[in-house]
Amino acid sequence: MRDVAVVSFAQTKNVRRENRRNEVEMLIPVVQEAVEKSGVPKQEIGFYCSGSSDYLAGQSFSFVMAVDCLGAWPPIAESHVEMDGAWALYEAWIKIQCGEADSALIFSFGRSSPGVIRETLVLQLDPYTLAPLGADPVSLAALQARALLESTDHSEREMAEVAARNRSNAKNNPYAQLTGDFDVDELLAEPYFVSPLRKHDCAPISDGATAIVIAADDVARKASKKPAWIRGIDHRIESHQLGLRDLSQSTSTSLAGEKAGAIDIDVAELHAPFSHQELILRDALSLGDDVKINPSGGALAANSVMVAGLTRIGEAANAIWDGTARRALGHATSGPCLQQNLVCVLEGE
């Protein structure tokens, strides 16, 4: 295996509605910043890969337009996954492992604001027995939260603590959308939104974009003072139907974590759009109290769909760069109730 490192990370501020710039106008400065910070000359970047979903803004082939942010001339080696950008990073990492490129730029964008994301995500479900019920992601997450509360020792208080901690952490993140100090008792006094979830247990609706540059071996060493080396990256999927899973656990996260070598972690950036999912993920990855979770505020502070997973990897790299962590973990999820999960373990020199 080649040594591959995250060498730069850039993101937009996450906002409820970005209507002053189209997707490409959002991406151009972010891509520019990622390239500049990376130290890899633009013309030497060997591969490009993006992650996005047509359904967010209701436009098919939306990724085709996004190519405009790259200045793809002369023509470039480029690919796209209809997934969170974290999986685009995985494809780029594979490309580098093949020896087809020594560096890659990965980006993702998501603008949920034109549509109603809670209705749009219903279309992720099996179209025969689930989607016609309008079983939206908040309702399904609520079933999962109930499963967690009923079959483990976790409590609604812990969920509120997760929400409060993430939003407090996010005060230090200029790109976050929902930040502030919250009192756990006050949060617990709030009414249920979709029981047992309260509003604070749910991620905000965000528009945003992220770009990351990764590079191999000497290219990374030459470009970056402190490469965040990818020591392991793996992703796994589970059954689609909720009835076929133990919703209080995330076996795919455990497996991906095991394959990626998720041990001795100092900081973990977990892609948990609902507070209880952070509890499930911490259990799945056996992250103890000594592990700092989501210094960025995580998805509860900013959740641009298709972007938030890639952002977690970028934030994990930030933890390496700012010295908070020697080993950091970035996690991404996709599908109803954590159906699919990716774990990326980063390490400083």
């Binding site: 409820r16 509605r17 189209n22 209701g58 001339w73 279309l123 939206d136």
Partner: protein, 339 residues
């Protein structure tokens, strides 16, 4: 049609609404077909998978992918709630418009729970382990929504006459509404059309003029602003065209062959593509022809069909027709071979 603005918003004068709506026809295959046929007929089927019974049934073993033989087992109609959540404020997509529960329901005789709706008096009537029973709707079409669940004691008897034939196709209407404002560059283009002008953008890097401006230069990766806007002439050259013989399909209004042309406005470096031309006979249309856009009277212009689409650019409903200017044709070698 105004969009509710929140957060860091700036209100544009051009809100757009787009509804992506289509009735999808789902062909069901050998397992979901019988399952939905049974629902229509007031019965619930599971399928044997090794020592387990799966409900809803699948065509395959979810653990291994191996094909399951269609060994159906009738399950329910009653069962237990495993987990539930109370939907206090249903959306228009939910099976009920008044409060209800979503639940994981494990039917008697099944080993897996199905996600479905439970109609109960309130959240206090719901609990893990509670008994529920299938309540079939009066009108059933062979869809998962033919049934819902109620607390076992609340179930009403419904006389169910089996339907005719097998349900092989289920129709699912998907309707999503998208609302956004025109981006600033597109809004200025739209305003120009309303004013009877073509507004493009000149790249500050290489000077090329595109219409409509995209707000950026795709090759140089630089953002453009209002300062880069340029007004273009309403005359131009047809550089390429095709004659379209309409095939009738939903939403198609043309019946006679017509020209769809790419027109290079004077001063532009990119064509306005797919301009439909009805006013010039098909056999008189030529590449190199000089054309002028005649705008409708100001009061009749609208830009209702101008949206943020990045690929298909309309010129709104502002052009009355394209007419020949009477100038000599531009010889082929003098206009760029542009599509």
């Amino acid at each position: 049609m105004a969009i509710k603005q929140e957060g860091v918003l700036t209100i544009s004068e051009f809100p757009t609404t787009f509804t992506l709506e289509y009735p999808y026809t789902r062909t069901l295959g050998p397992v979901i077909g019988p399952f939905l046929t049974a629902l229509r007929d007031g019965r619930i089927l599971g399928i044997r998978c090794g020592s387990r019974v799966l409900c809803p049934p699948l065509e395959f073993d979810p653990d291994t992918g191996e094909t399951l033989s269609p060994d159906f087992v009738e399950v329910g109609p009653a069962g237990c709630v495993e987990f539930w959540t109370w939907i206090a404020e249903p959306s228009r997509k939910h099976p009920f418009q008044e409060p209800f529960a979503f639940a994981q329901v494990k039917l008697d005789g099944a080993d897996t729970a199905m996600t479905h709706a439970v109609k109960a008096a309130g959240p206090e009537a719901m609990s893990a382990g509670m008994r529920v029973k299938a309540q079939f709707r009066e009108e059933r079409t062979g869809a998962i929504t033919d049934v819902y669940f109620v607390p076992e004691g609340d179930a009403r008897d419904v006389a169910i006459a089996p339907g005719e034939g097998e349900v092989a196709i289920s129709t699912h209407l998907i309707s999503l509404t998208f609302e956004e404002n025109l981006y600033p560059s597109r809004a200025r283009y739209a305003q120009g059309l309303l004013d009877g002008k073509f507004i493009g953008q000149r790249s500050p890097v290489n000077g090329t003029v595109s219409i409509p401006g995209k707000g950026y230069d795709p090759l140089a990766r630089v953002l453009m602003t209002e300062a880069d806007d340029v007004e273009l002439a309403s005359t131009g050259t047809a550089t390429s065209f095709t004659v379209i013989t309409p095939i009738q399909y939903k939403g198609q209004t043309e019946t006679e062959p017509y020209v769809s042309a790419s027109i290079f406005l004077d001063g532009a470096d990119q064509a306005l593509s797919m301009q439909n031309i009805y006013s010039i006979p098909v056999d008189e249309f030529r590449e190199g022809m000089r054309l002028r856009a005649i705008f409708k009277p100001a009061a009749e212009r609208n830009v209702d069909n101008v949206d943020n689409s990045w690929m298909i650019f309309t010129t709104g409903n502002v052009i009355e027709r394209w007419e020949p200017t009477g100038e000599p044709d531009v010889p082929p070698e003098e206009f760029p071979e542009q599509i």
